[in-house]
Amino acid sequence: MTADWLISLGTGVRNIVVSLGISDPFTDYVMTILAALVLMAVLGMVALYGVYAERRIAGFIQYRHGPNRVGPHGLLQAVADGIKMLSKEDLIPNGADRTVFRLAPYIVFTPAMMVWAVLPFSKYVVAVDLNIGLLYVIAIVSVATLGLLMAGWSSNNKYSLLGAMRSVAQMLSYELPLVFSILGVVMLAGSINLSAVVEAQTRVWFIIPQFLGFIIFIISATAELNRLPFDLVEADSELTAGAFTEYSGMRWGIFFAAEYANIFAVSALATTLFLGGWHGPLLPPYVWFFIKTCTMMFFFIWMRWTFPRLRIDQLLNLSWKVLLPLSILNILLTGTAYFFFFL
């Protein structure tokens, strides 16, 4: 075990909790609550500064200044936006299904938060070391589809309805290549516990034997995140804001926080599955994890501001006629190569 201050911190906090006279079953509860609170704080920071990073990078790519007035280099812009959203009026459009309209942000945000529970930030630094972690992530992420459908349907707006319908078609179609591309990694690692998958990459990162899988994973993940070139759910220039057209103020802010939490989660998943997780020379493991994850996030932002949007028929064709057969081919190739080299 490497000397990692995150682990010492965890052990230290645990000792304090024990010394307070909290007996054994409750120590775990307290530790989990503390972990959840810390992750929630990190999630908030990622959401706020993800937006800031996205706007700055967009400015850089489009040869203009991003936000640069509030605070040094515009660093406080995110805080100002947060305060603005909290103080804006809470609007629900006429004729909307009010209960479903109010419920939708919960259904979108809660899964985003729940996925963070199983992300392995470093060895032993994971809130819940679930033995079926990967399956759990896939299951939980797809719940957000329901939230988008609820948001679009309840808004009583035709743009929203179109956005909602598209979101379902798109997320269903791209979930298959996503799941199949992960199977190659599972075959090599022999486990769906995320920490065990990282451990299996001590010698070689899975991006090398699973390069095709990695490409399919990134494309499908971009579609699952509803980001350009697959942002048909929002499609600003044709659907105003798609499923979110009628949302404003903090409810809209929660959708945005969920979006950036999901980008981070998917980047972390790509890091864990293909880029060797926390493995890396010299620097501490958690630093490597964050470097890789931030690189992936930058990649997603870069893609968004570089590519034009696809049409819905092109989008569905890409998934069903190209990515799905390719991802199944990837499983067969992985299996064949395995028996060719190891038997």
Binding site: D90, N94, M165, V179, L183, G190, L324, G335, Y338, F339
Partner: protein, 117 residues
Amino acid sequence: MSDFTKIAFFMFFGIAFVFGSMLVVRLLSTSKYDPIKSLPYECGMDTIGPTWIQFQNNYFMYALLFLVFDVETVFLFPWAIRFSQLGLMAFIEMVLFVAMLLLALWYAWKEGVLEWS
């Protein structure tokens, strides 16, 4: 304590975060009803006709096809975890299983389910 009890904590905190921020909004924001302000947004025009109508059935076909392949993953995951121990025979059997489903995909393709009209 089971892992899923811990997961339940995370679920609770996710809900609490949204609930808490909506509570802060209720405390901070002003609220004034206005019939014009709360019209659905449709580029300056009033909404024409009802919004909740029957919709294109293309979406439904994709959903059906999705269901077939999603059930397939349920069989593929346990096999993939034990892949190296199960050996060559299990691999060949899985190839046959996947080939049958690919046949289904090919049939759907041929029948034009995958064409957007």
